[in-house]
Symmetry: D2
Subunit: 290 residues, 4 copies
């Protein structure tokens, strides 16, 4: 890829690392929205949004883009940054990439004639993000369990991207891996990869012997009926986005330890997460022929 000019505006530690990574490959990088951040390498902070955006090929925003649809999500900045202020300085040859760009922001972009891509809608990004998510889940399990994961019975609910990645790592550490899935084809894959397939109807029996359960399904699978079958020592780690997959109140009542672990990539492995963002951004650029 030819060297390009990037602007990075706002975001958490991942965007700090992203700026460093993109600069390290010889690209020009302007940043704005990081007056409280410290960088390992020298990167010049722009004084104004206009200066930051000027002449740039690609403007990269945070994940998520905004928490209120009005201001850029910029935890490392002491002042607020209006999304509109970013868009108004961008021209139609520039590309805006961020994560979770809401309908309202998309609308604003259209009004401002800003071409935008949501990186979280990229399949490869979701696949790659499953890696730090799975590792983060394993770290939590290791911290919380009084036994080793090795030779423990570990159940993964759901066989999507996170389920697949987590099952493989758990097997790699030596756990006895059970995976719950509904589709016949998923069950076939589960057998093919050497895990024990658990159907929904077998769930109530299977959970009894589990030492740890990881949920990846975004609706309440672990309801009262299932929870009361669990071994009291069984740890529950919920990786599903809202509304989550656990009846946390019931779990507490019964005395089960249940942890809702969200947004792990940015927390447990910001540098790796930044690398994956970079890869995805470059894929988008290549595909669009920017």
């Amino acid at each position: 890829m030819e060297k390009m000019k990037f602007t990075i505006i706002g975001g958490d530690l991942r965007n700090v690392k992203l700026a460093e990574l993109i600069a390290a490959e010889g690209n020009s990088v302007n940043i704005y929205g990081f007056d409280k951040a410290s960088f390992d390498v020298k990167i010049r902070q722009s004084n104004t949004i206009e200066e930051a955006v000027d002449g740039s090929d690609v403007v990269i925003g945070p994940i998520p883009c905004s928490n209120d649809n009005e201001y850029i999500n910029a935890p490392f900045h002491s002042e607020k940054i209006l999304i509109h202020d970013v868009f108004k300085f961008m021209n139609k040859n520039q590309l805006f990439i961020a994560g979770r760009i809401s309908d309202k922001i998309v609308h604003l972009a259209q009004v401002c004639n800003v071409y935008n891509v949501d990186m979280l809608e990229r399949e490869e990004m979701a696949v790659l993000n499953a890696i730090p998510t799975a590792e983060g889940a394993i770290q939590i399990a290791m911290e919380e369990m009084p036994t080793t994961l090795h030779n423990s019975n570990a159940l993964v609910l759901g066989y999507g991207r996170i389920g697949k990645t987590l099952a493989k790592m758990l097997q790699g550490i030596g756990a006895n891996v059970f995976v719950e899935a509904r589709k016949y084809a998923d069950v076939a894959w589960i057998k093919s990869y050497g895990y024990k397939a658990v159907s929904l109807s077998e769930l109530t029996q299977t959970v009894k012997d589990m030492n740890v359960i990881f949920n990846t399904i975004p609706f309440v699978v672990l309801d009262n009926d299932i929870l009361k079958m669990l071994n009291p020592e069984c740890l529950i780690i919920d990786l599903a986005s809202k509304p989550g997959g656990v009846d946390f109140e019931k779990a507490k009542e019964i005395g089960l330890k249940a942890i809702w672990a969200l947004s792990l990539p940015g927390k447990v492995a910001p540098v790796t997460a930044a690398e994956f963002i970079k890869d995805t951004v470059f894929n988008i650029i290549e595909e669009l022929g920017v």
Copy 2:
């Protein structure tokens, strides 16, 4: 599942084993079309198609169902079996399951009022069949190569069902696994599983160092341009259905060994293949609520 009555008509060693497996689970099994086959367990051969089909819940035909759209594919039978003769004795409450049921046969079934399902169109069947296919490919590689697969450079072209299963097994034996894929999401999965991802543009360079190449893509990837880059000792195993993925004539000209290995499940592991057919048949029955 409740015990049911099955009829198995025609087919190769897989259907012989299938009959034994279904009977072993306590179901009633009539067979027809196996007068030259030998069975490990006692299964009564029906004298006529009518007798075989009478009172049955499910009639299972071969894979492929027919080679000429007229007669049942029945290599173990001394006489020819007209598909129409099977269909005419079936009633509309009976289910016909076979593999690769052509449009012409589907039409005949409709005319005869026979409800039919093609098991090869079932996703789980394709996933499961990838297991004996991959093992068969590995067996051939072991037989043909003067080196071990362990520590060899093995390239898998394509990351579909066979590519995924094969890559995992090759890694399990200790090969250095390279996988060629185009989609960004596939490349992400390839990295996630620990293989080396090879893009189409890198292919020419990568093939130079390979000891064995497995193709799973059904169009000619290994054309003259790629073939002439190969190490002369490199073995090629083509697993793709017609037209295959190798310019076999060119390969021969250059002096490369290229093997086109088709229909491996029935050849290398008929018993396992029969088990997978049974699983799929039972899934179909469960889904249809027969």
Copy 3:
């Protein structure tokens, strides 16, 4: 094995769990030295050492047996327990098992006519203990590194029990595993298991690219010359018992993060550690034909 009578005297959380595990298998268990511990199951605490030891087949002490060669290591007890007080109530048909029984304690046992076995000198115990040690090391690495272990470069120094176990788990999570070993046979095993073998002479070059280094060799391998070659972000985890394998002062000077992680089994997985103690104790009993 026939049911027997056990006494457990002193020790940390592992001995608490051990008492529960042995009782759960239907054996009689007396405990002493746990007045501050809480047990998940009901186990009667003896009032005196004499009462605890009386009629017992096997008396199990802590790991390590003592920190001063005079008192039993009993962190859960409010009073001190003289080793001599334990031995004097034991008869010659009773067996004393503990971990790290010093020469001085062995001498005392001989004087008191107490047959004793050091469980840490059992090969299987050391092999099993490597499992929680390796998992603990991985947990620390996950907590400390800003990247995933997946796809990181991880170097293991030494290929003994911990090195072997750790290398396998790291590979299972998806790290690129390098192992330093000297013996030709070890190098052969390292290749056989699919890790990259690093000889002592290659070490200086190899360390440059590492993201994490785990040391298992009990002498200073990571001295100033090696340390200054490391990437400043590289994490060092030292698992070697005294004197350890890292020049910690130099590491600090250079700005490298180095963690000396000792006695991991009891810390990260006391229940698993207790199971391994139980297995080993039962092996000793079986071997001696107690």
Copy 4:
């Protein structure tokens, strides 16, 4: 390593490949005893033993060195080569390396003042040779079994070098791996690597469910009592050197298929075997400081 002069005298396909490999690294190579062999690269065949040996640093013989203690094992030569004729032209600064050098040959070497090393007594050679042995065993199992190894029950008798390597590969293909071992420490390792440990006393029960049994123990473990417990479909592959580990007569009587597979490295992967010989030869040279 500095470039050296090698002589290769006699041996099978492995020594043919060995000559090519050593020459490919820039060393000078004389060969003798291959008048019926064809080489992929140009290597000059010496006309006489004297010419072949003259000026050489290291003389490499075959594996095994001889079948009768008198003549060099030279299947590719049309004439017989007396061991004594080789030794008499060697001087005391030259090193003779071969495999399985009998006491009688050692004695002859001493008489002739020839310094000799048996490469089969090198631990690393034995470890490396376990790789093609295990792969060869897997190839045979794949060829003979009507099921896939994936998801089959595979029992490995013995946990030495071959047992370890084979267990790992079987697991990598997706078999359910059982390993029989006696020592407590081996049982611990077996659990650590994720196989199911089988003690001698459990063997009779375990064998019933096996689809394939690999023996590596050089005494008759699979005697009449065990054999009659086996499933009639169970395949037996014996990898143990004489007297082997199977009562083959009884097996035949019962109708069990039992294959005695010896000397697999040279048969299934001569090129890899040659590489391992080369590595070992170079290790010997390095150690001796030749």
